[in-house]
Symmetry: C2
Subunit: 153 residues, 2 copies
Amino acid sequence: MTFKTAVLAVAAAASTLLALPANAQFAKPEEAIKYRQGSLFVIGQHFGRIGAMVNGKMPFDAKAAQENADIVAAMSALPWAGFGPGTDKGAPHKAKPGVWTEQAKFNEHAQTFKSEAAKLASAAKTGNLDQIKTAFGPAAQSCKSCHDAYRNR
Amino acid sequence: MTFKTAVLAVAAAASTLLALPANAQFAKPEEAIKYRQGSLFVIGQHFGRIGAMVNGKMPFDAKAAQENADIVAAMSALPWAGFGPGTDKGAPHKAKPGVWTEQAKFNEHAQTFKSEAAKLASAAKTGNLDQIKTAFGPAAQSCKSCHDAYRNR
């Protein structure tokens, strides 16, 4: 399996995982918290590298942009399983109670991000910086709106 | 630029990217440490779910095994960038100094894991538990031998 096919398979696979309750997947809440924090951090790093190119802070490198966008897209489905019932405590975290009291709204944010991340990966495949910029904006906005609503500073 | 020089330039560029020190990819050592810890934790969770099926602690679910193996394979290339020069300090971690003093050996471990993770994903595609068991052993051994050599308890 190439890295690329693996990445594509992950995106498909993880959407199923999304539907599973946390207690079916994590031994204890602490692990769910570490899992969501870890996966979001990794996503943030790769997303930020695309942002640096989009904002001109780093020279544009089409191959690197595509690799980073593929990782973001593949991992975009992962973190949400770590926000299952009972994972509002167990380790220090910044998630607001709304994650658990407004689950449907929170899940909508997650779906929006997944969809924008997929669009960004498609744009990155073109190797065209303008297309990447166009897709990057809404993807970044989907991060921000969810952080504003559900993450303490 | 001829086609040949273009190809050589790309090859040179790619090897440069691969060889980039952590400080070119991470804003500070602390981020590299969080990145490697986060990605390894996520990999460990998904790998552990396959292990639970292999060891009979969870009922075998061919689809879930494949999804988990795909995630492990896709992410198997990620953590190593977080062990770059200068990332032996900056945040609490369990990596032994050998990671930085025996880089070639450490990188061999990383390559072995990537290769075993790819084999496990191929085995999982068959949906056959015996084939998954056969591939799981060496993959688990590759985790263990690297942890034994380079991770403090």
